[in-house]
Symmetry: C2
Subunit: 138 residues, 2 copies
């Protein structure tokens, strides 16, 4: 099982404040003989939707020395986890959680925006100090 | 500039044996303010195609302790490098170079195959002992 990201608790608390129930920490899924661990699974009951909304969240702090290296890894994890979810839990929507300051600086770059858009990567932007979710981007 | 993969020389020699000319080692490209280094750029003249065929190759040994971690990173690099090439050198085709034993074992898994197919990742399979290209998969 991989080590938890340093902002794992901040994102978890942010989701709890928005009324989400954490249903797995981490979420373990298996596709064939490949084991996958995604940081969090959460669920929220919504009026008129008895099944509730289900998400999986991969949390990134982007505190690595190289932002572009961290981005390569995050994109690969997102693509692979989404494929794995598609095969075993197709209704669960995957989010990549990133800190607000990284969203406003590094993620404003043209290449990064193109990759996010063209690969339909859903972002959850969090404030790691206040421990709140700032923005959901689908 | 990132460190060279341990099988960098094997893939380079394999390409030379097939008549490719190495035109950059590494290939540096810049998109906005993001710098990208791809392991190799090569070119081959083909009859009836004066412009020649141009490729870029990202070389992976998959000797990391975790194959799935190495795969996450490789997929992210491929997606991001392809986007960068699309913006600055759209005719250059990107290949992910992987060792033959990894192709025949790890890459035979269902999840890995699905990711490769659904994301249109081109593979170049090499024999790191003989230093030859075994297979091109588009």
């Amino acid at each position: 099982m991989p080590a938890k990201d340093i902002f794992h608790g901040a994102v978890k608390n942010g989701l709890l404040k928005e009324g989400w129930t954490i249903t797995a920490d981490p979420l373990f899924i298996q596709v064939g003989d490949v084991d996958i661990y995604i940081d969090l699974a959460a669920e929220k009951l919504i009026a008129a939707d008895r099944a509730g909304q289900q998400i999986a969240v991969e949390i990134k702090s982007f505190t690595l020395p190289s932002l572009i290296y961290a981005f390569h890894l995050a994109v690969g994890q997102y693509i692979n986890y989404r494929q794995a979810l598609h095969e075993v839990a197709p209704h669960r929507v995957l989010y990549l959680a990133i800190p607000e300051d990284v969203y406003e600086s590094f993620f404003a770059r043209r290449l990064i925006q193109s990759v996010i858009e063209n690969n339909h990567i859903h972002l959850l932007v969090y404030d790691n100090v206040q421990e709140v979710i700032v923005k959901w981007l689908n």
